[in-house]
């Protein structure tokens, strides 16, 4: 492209988009990508490849010539399978013809939900630390993100008392993501009931991103929509990425009140048309024959989780025990380093990549996210390296403290 000074593209860019901050970890990402021999615990997806039978089902459908559009809502068989899954897993009943929409990953579903309900200036409560997309997408929809900090003392769970103090007359939506990325925190049933009471009291709507719901270690998966009175008030979002190791397929879904769904499908229809049929075919196979396999993955994650938490604690990092997702979120405050300093030095000195907490909001500073979706051999080696690193920096920091 020939770029001249006679044209100024900046004049054309919407201020809303311009004001969205770029990803805070871009620089760090480049640093990691350019370092050789790195063990990465910075990854946000399963280390399992999509099970072969699911990949094979997709190949088979391609061979048979399934290359066309589907219904805007998604293939009827897939919606039916999703409805059965939600019933089996959470006891939730949804009508597959009017209350389920297949999307391009859970990400699209979050966007659809927010765009469907937000009026300019509406406040969206977002527990923090949180996934990086919620605030920008809220802003794009014209909403005002209001972050509600959670703390290590509360095991990074959202408490009703904390939540209530952030509710204003402008609050419209509570956006939940538990099990949580980046902390691995979950909400227990009592907490969910307490939150549900507030949701009712202040007449709020809940958008619940439950993409990690299957990866729960303290008991069976729980959905916020299954709390009495909450189903009609909850836009339930889930997908296949984490439970079935299908991140690259970009396939998720939303289950909600038919009034919401009828509006959401309009945006979906005019911007996306439908989720790719090959991914839908694979997702159908996953739900029909892949659920046992998912349980096996959870068991393996659980074993690695215990090992990593123990190792991190043994090396002197404060670390609450996460009960969901595949992340641990230790505090690195005792090292005297900021989260970005810790991550950069760890990468340079020991070639282990973790994600600095500040990527997930101000309340996540002083923490790092380590993913245990890595092979056991890599995890053990990464922990050995981190142990050396932490020992060095704890000594340096206590030395510095003594001198001061």
């Amino acid at each position: 492209m020939t770029i001249t000074h006679g044209f100024d593209p900046k004049r054309f860019i919407s201020p809303t988009v311009k004001n969205i901050p770029p990803s805070g970890i871009r620089r760090f990402f480049d640093l990691v990508a350019n370092t050789k021999g790195v063990i990465s615990l910075g990854v946000g997806e399963p280390d399992f490849v999509t099970p072969w039978h699911i990949r094979e089902a997709c190949v088979h459908s391609l061979e048979k010539g399934y290359t066309m559009y589907t219904s805007n809502y998604g293939m009827p068989e897939l919606r039916q399978a999703i409805a059965s899954y939600l019933l089996d897993t959470f006891g939730l009943e949804y009508d597959p013809s009017k209350q389920i929409l297949v999307t391009i990953g859970a990400s699209e579903a979050v966007d659809l939900a927010l765009r469907t309900v937000i009026n300019p200036g509406d406040e969206v409560l977002i527990p923090e630390p949180c996934y990086v997309a919620y605030q920008p997408v809220t802003r794009l929809a014209g909403g005002v993100p209001v972050t509600v900090p959670t703390t290590m003392e509360d095991n990074f769970a959202l408490t009703a008392a904390r939540l209530e103090s952030y509710i204003t007359p402008r609050t419209k939506v509570l956006l939940l993501c538990f099990p949580n990325n980046p902390t691995g925190a979950v909400l227990d049933t009592d907490t969910m009931h307490a939150i549900a009471a507030l949701v009712k009291k202040y007449n709020l709507l809940v958008i619940s991103d439950e993409i990690y719901s299957e990866l729960r270690y303290d008991g069976p998966p729980l959905s916020f929509a299954a709390i009495p009175g909450m189903q009609e008030r909850t836009i339930l979002i889930n997908g296949f990425s984490k439970a079935f190791a299908m991140t690259g397929w970009r396939i998720g879904y939303v289950a909600a009140h038919p009034e919401f769904l009828a509006q959401m499908v309009k945006i979906h229809q005019y911007t996306i048309l439908c989720a790719p049929i090959m991914s839908q075919m694979a997702a159908l196979e996953a739900l029909r024959y892949g659920r046992e396999n998912a349980k096996h993955m959870v068991e393996q994650y659980n074993q690695r989780r215990r090992l990593v938490v123990k190792r991190l604690r043994d090396m002197g990092l404060e670390c609450f025990e996460p009960q969901g997702a595949f992340y641990v979120f230790p505090s690195i405050k005792h090292t005297g380093l900021s989260s970005i300093e810790f991550a950069e030095k760890l990468l340079q000195e020991e070639k282990v990549a973790v994600v600095p907490g500040n990527a997930f909001g101000a309340s996540a500073e002083g923490f790092i996210r380590c993913s245990y979706a890595a092979s056991l051999a890599d995890l053990i080696e990464a922990m050995n390296r981190m142990e050396r690193f932490v020992a060095r920096h704890l000594a340096l920091n206590s030395g510095a403290a003594a001198e001061a």
């Binding site: 790195v38 990465s40 997806e45 215990r306 994600v355 990527a359 056991l376």
Partner: protein, 161 residues
């Protein structure tokens, strides 16, 4: 508990009892005791290293799978024939199989000739062995659940939020 321990060390024989204990949320003494018991009871028969010999440049290993057909005879069951076979050091595995043959035997030697000789002189001459069918192994792709090809193991992006 035994099954869980075995699942863990099946592909990671180097895991310590301490690590296993943490991963399964069990006391380390119990895990050590259980492993010792399984060793004694011959549940755990050994700790092997799985090697891709082709990579070491070790060319003088030739393997063959040999189907063996046995004439069933009173008082001489398959077990007896199998027993006579499995004591040979050249024999790496022996299984009773269904189908038109009865035993499947894996034989290893230094050369094609050595394996051929073994079949002709030792195996085929055993009383009650009616016929054999030899398949030389040309290339190994997967063994005991492990794929031999150098597939790229981790294609994920190094950092994702």
């Amino acid at each position: 508990m035994r099954k869980k321990i075995l699942e863990l060390i099946k592909y990671n024989a180097k895991l310590s009892a301490k690590e296993i204990a943490v991963m399964l949320a069990l006391p380390v003494e119990q895990v050590s005791k259980e492993i010792r018991a399984m060793e004694q009871e011959k549940v755990i028969l050994g700790y092997h290293t799985m090697i891709n010999w082709e990579k070491v440049g070790n060319d003088n290993v030739v393997s063959a799978l040999i189907d063996v057909k046995v004439i069933p005879q009173r008082d001489v069951g398959f077990d007896e024939i199998a027993r006579r076979l499995y004591h040979y050091p050249e024999v790496k595995s022996v299984s009773l199989i269904s189908g038109s043959y009865d035993l499947s035997v894996q034989v290893q030697g230094k050369s094609l000739k050595e394996v051929a000789n073994f079949v002709a002189q030792k195996l085929a001459t055993i009383e009650h062995v009616q016929s054999t069918r030899t398949h030389f192994i040309l290339k190994r792709y997967k063994e005991d659940g492990v794929i031999f090809a150098d597939e790229e193991t981790d294609r994920r992006q190094v950092l994702q939020p």
